[in-house]
């Protein structure tokens, strides 16, 4: 009997676990700062009090049942949906703009996937130890120690995920009350469902899937590469310097500069000339390597060990690189310890790296694409700021009733009817008066409502009709409808309204 001829090839690659080594440096400090800042805002903002007359005293509250977003002193109503559109547009353009300049900065420093993964790795590191300890733990069979450490890590992850979901939900209701209701089983079903989904997805994405989200799931990472240009700064390995003529090579222990450095350090306190001599030891060793045709890369592999997506940056720019800069920190640490110049891995542009005489890397913004994105960004931000800054205390909409467009009355007069909807966006009751100009006094009939009082956040509907003699109707195509908040003549707004008559309809 014949069985399988060969081992079957798997259709799916199994995840290769990544154990990142911690590293210190400029980029690590920046990432930590962003993380702390972002977490402080996200987790604390819903607890910030803000006194209001007619709503819960919460600084940021997305009040869905009340159909309004309360953001500090600003109340956003569904009518302001254009602000959301602008905000999304600005966010998109900002992403394009920044990516064109400094590559996937969003991915590396600001994306929530990066932030949460970073935080989860920090938890893992605190409980299970540094990279070698974690690798050992991973390889060893299940025992009490492994169970405690791995179990503890996952428990903390779930806890962090839960509080992430909980925090998301409390933006949508008065936070202290919702938390109380949540734990006493009295909150809305939507709250429990949302928290469960977010707990599971956060735990899965930041704890289990991690870099696979960036590699397989996320579309942004992929389409950002379209915005790269030769001038775009990105994390690059300077292959020309690192590889030399005969490639990279490790430094053998007991030889060369390591010995010399140790000797120099042991001679504390050192005289100034001795210190200079020790510094030049690195340069000397480098010159020695260059004579042999070796590159500057000592092949320590630290840049690979610190990488959260587990890639080797020395293979060149690649789609898995989220441009977090940790390999730069790692390489600089090693270069420092050998006394070699920093920047073997650095932010640089493809164009500069390929140039015969590379210059110091710098941000090149004088490109049509970048300037275009920048202009759009400034324009849209200015428009959003203007739109929010000049928002009225009320919204108005005048709709002509189109069924029928006009009515011929018994004496031959033409009547048009309108529905005026006023939404009070102020914090207190307000009375509005409606008047018209461009038509004779008395032509406007508002029924029983010459003025209407509307509660804050509510809308009022007024039926208006305009009656004109046939001769006048023939010449009247538009008139002005004026809405004046009582006691605030400065906020009066007029609306140009159409008037239809039979003659006009036949034109």
């Amino acid at each position: 009997m014949q069985t399988g001829l060969e081992e079957q090839l798997g259709l799916y690659q199994k995840r290769i676990p990544i154990f990142t080594r911690s590293v210190k440096g400029r980029f690590r400090r920046f990432k930590t700062t962003v993380l702390l800042l972002a977490y402080a805002i996200y987790f604390l903002l819903p607890w910030l009090p803000w006194s209001r007359l007619d709503a819960p005293s919460q600084a940021v509250l997305f009040d869905l049942p009340g159909r309004r977003f309360l953001i500090f002193g600003l109340t956003v109503y569904p009518q302001d949906v254009v602000w959301l559109a602008l905000l999304l547009f600005i966010a998109a353009i900002l992403l394009f703009f920044v990516t064109g300049l400094v590559g996937r900065a969003f991915c590396g420093y600001f994306c929530f996937q990066t932030l949460w993964t970073d935080f989860f790795i920090w938890i893992e590191h605190k409980i299970q130890g540094e990279r070698p300890a974690r690798v050992r733990l991973y390889r060893q069979p299940w025992n009490r120690e492994k169970l405690l450490k791995v179990g503890g890590t996952h428990a903390l992850w779930v806890l962090a995920s839960f509080w992430t979901g909980m925090t998301f939900v409390i933006y949508y209701a008065y936070a202290p009350q919702l938390v109380l209701d949540f734990f006493t089983g009295q909150a809305a079903a939507a709250a429990y469902i949302t928290v469960s989904i977010l707990t599971i997805s956060t735990y899965a994405a930041a704890g289990l899937m991690r870099e696979q989200i960036c590699t397989y799931v996320c579309p942004y990472g992929r389409f950002q590469s379209v915005m790269y240009e030769p001038e775009t700064l990105a994390v690059h390995y300077d292959a020309r310097r690192g590889e030399g003529a005969h490639g990279r090579a490790t430094v053998r222990a007991g030889r060369g500069i390591v010995v010399e450095r140790r000797r120099a350090e042991s001679a504390e306190p050192v005289a100034v000339d001795r210190r200079q001599a020790s510094l030049s030891a690195g340069e000397r060793a480098l010159a020695e390597r260059h004579e042999k045709g070796l590159g500057d890369c000592v092949d320590c592999g630290l840049c690979v060990q610190v990488c959260p997506t587990g890639i080797d940056i020395r293979d060149g720019l690649q789609y898995k690189c989220i441009s977090c800069g940790l390999c730069i920190d790692a390489c600089n640490t090693i270069m420092d310890s050998f006394g070699f110049p920093r920047g073997l891995i650095r932010y640089d542009s493809e164009k500069n790296l390929a140039a015969p005489e590379p210059t110091a890397p710098r941000v090149e913004w004088k490109r049509l694409k970048t300037i275009g994105y920048g202009a759009a960004l400034i324009l849209m931000s200015a428009y959003l700021a203007y739109s929010i800054g000049t928002r009225g205390s009320y919204d108005r909409a005048v709709n002509q009733i189109r069924q029928p467009l006009y009515v011929v009355l018994s004496n031959g007069d033409i009547r048009n009817r309108y529905q005026v909807r006023i939404t009070n966006k102020a914090a207190q009751d307000q009375t509005y008066e409606i008047s018209a100009s461009g038509i004779p006094a008395g032509a406007l009939d508002l029924g029983s409502f010459r003025e209407i009082t509307i509660k804050p956040g509510h809308s009022g509907l007024v039926q208006a009709s305009v009656r004109l003699a046939p001769e006048l109707a023939e010449h009247t195509h538009h008139f002005e409808l004026l809405i004046t908040p009582k006691g605030k003549p400065g906020e009066a707004r007029s609306e140009t309204v159409r008037f239809d008559s039979p003659k006009e309809a036949h034109d």
Binding site: L5, R402, Q403, V407, S410, R417, D445, G447, F449, I452
Partner: protein
């Protein structure tokens, strides 16, 4: 060929050989697919127990889930889950939510309803829904009617009166408009004279001599038009006869005719053939008193009633 060879080296076969060398590749389904399939099986079992699933005898297996709602009579009803019960639940929930408003309308006088901004908003939305469901098929969505068939409710002319009480009476009891056929009683010449007279009343181009003859005929016992339309031809609201002196036409499609002759001809045909089609059904049994009250205010506001 080389590709085939490569594949034969890497893919398992079922292990059986037919005719000496004929083998079948064994490509199992992906594991994720198989597990997803198991999950759907479990889902189906759960679904069957919760929701109606299998036909059984003359009915079906209802499933464990129920729908309970309180109907407008205050009775609690329970059905096994189905989309019709779901609709009933929705309708009854909406009816209960609207009830305070309808109760308020029932307790208020017409004048109070018309002056209350909250009630006014409710009338505009609930009235529009009621109007669209019940009245729009004839009177059209905006109440503009159809000339020659259904009265326009948005103008200021009311056959039977435009006060709240009269509109309420019209909706509750319905109306039946009637005008006798004059072609059997009068000669075509006489009908033409009458048509010219009616045209003259609203300032439409006409033959003055014929109109004068028509005037005499209108007030004579021969045609006896004034019986119903009144000596001043302004109609009588008690019987719903039309005002012939205004610019509003319901039966004779005067606005559609472009020439004066056409307009007179439209009037002539109505006089000749009479009318027996102005029927509005009574809504007393079909709508609740509160609904009729809401509709009354809504219609009143459509035409700026009297």
């Amino acid at each position: 060929m080389s590709e085939q060879k490569l594949q034969s080296q890497t893919v398992q076969t079922t292990g059986h050989a037919w005719d000496g060398d004929l083998q079948e590749y064994n490509n199992p389904l992906p594991v994720w697919w198989v597990y997803t399939f198991y999950v759907t099986v479990v889902f189906a079992l759960v679904y069957w127990t919760i929701y109606p699933s299998w036909p059984f005898g003359k009915g079906w297996i209802g499933g464990l889930s129920n729908i309970t709602y309180v109907n407008s009579n205050g009775e609690t009803k329970t059905h096994s889950w189905n989309t019709r019960a779901l609709l009933l639940e929705d309708m009854n929930r909406a009816a209960i939510a609207q009830k305070p408003y309808f109760d308020k309308v029932a307790a208020m006088s017409y004048a109070q309803v018309a002056k209350d901004p909250d009630m006014n908003g409710f009338i505009l939305s609930a009235g529009k829904a009621l109007f669209s469901d019940n009245c729009a098929p004839c009177h059209q969505a905006g109440g503009q009617g159809v000339v020659g068939f259904f009265p326009n409710l948005t103008d200021d002319d009311w056959l039977y009166g435009g006060s709240f009480d009269k509109i309420h009476e019209t909706i509750t009891g319905g109306r039946h408009g009637y005008m006798p056929t004059f072609s059997e009683v009068l000669s075509p010449e006489q009908i033409d004279q009458l048509a010219n007279y009616v045209a003259s009343l609203s300032g439409i181009g006409h033959d003055a001599t014929r109109a004068a003859a028509g005037n005499a005929l209108f007030h004579s016992e021969t045609a006896a038009c004034y019986y119903c339309h009144g000596a001043d031809a302004k109609g009588r609201k008690e019987i719903g006869s039309a005002n012939l002196t205004d610019n509003i036409w319901l039966w004779a499609n005067v606005p559609a005719a472009s020439s004066a002759e056409g307009k007179v001809a439209a009037i002539r045909s109505v006089i000749a053939s009479g009318l027996n089609k102005g029927v509005m059904p009574a809504w007393a049994g079909r709508l609740s008193p509160e609904q009729i009250k809401v509709l009354t205010v809504y219609v009143h506001e459509l035409g700026g009633g009297q």
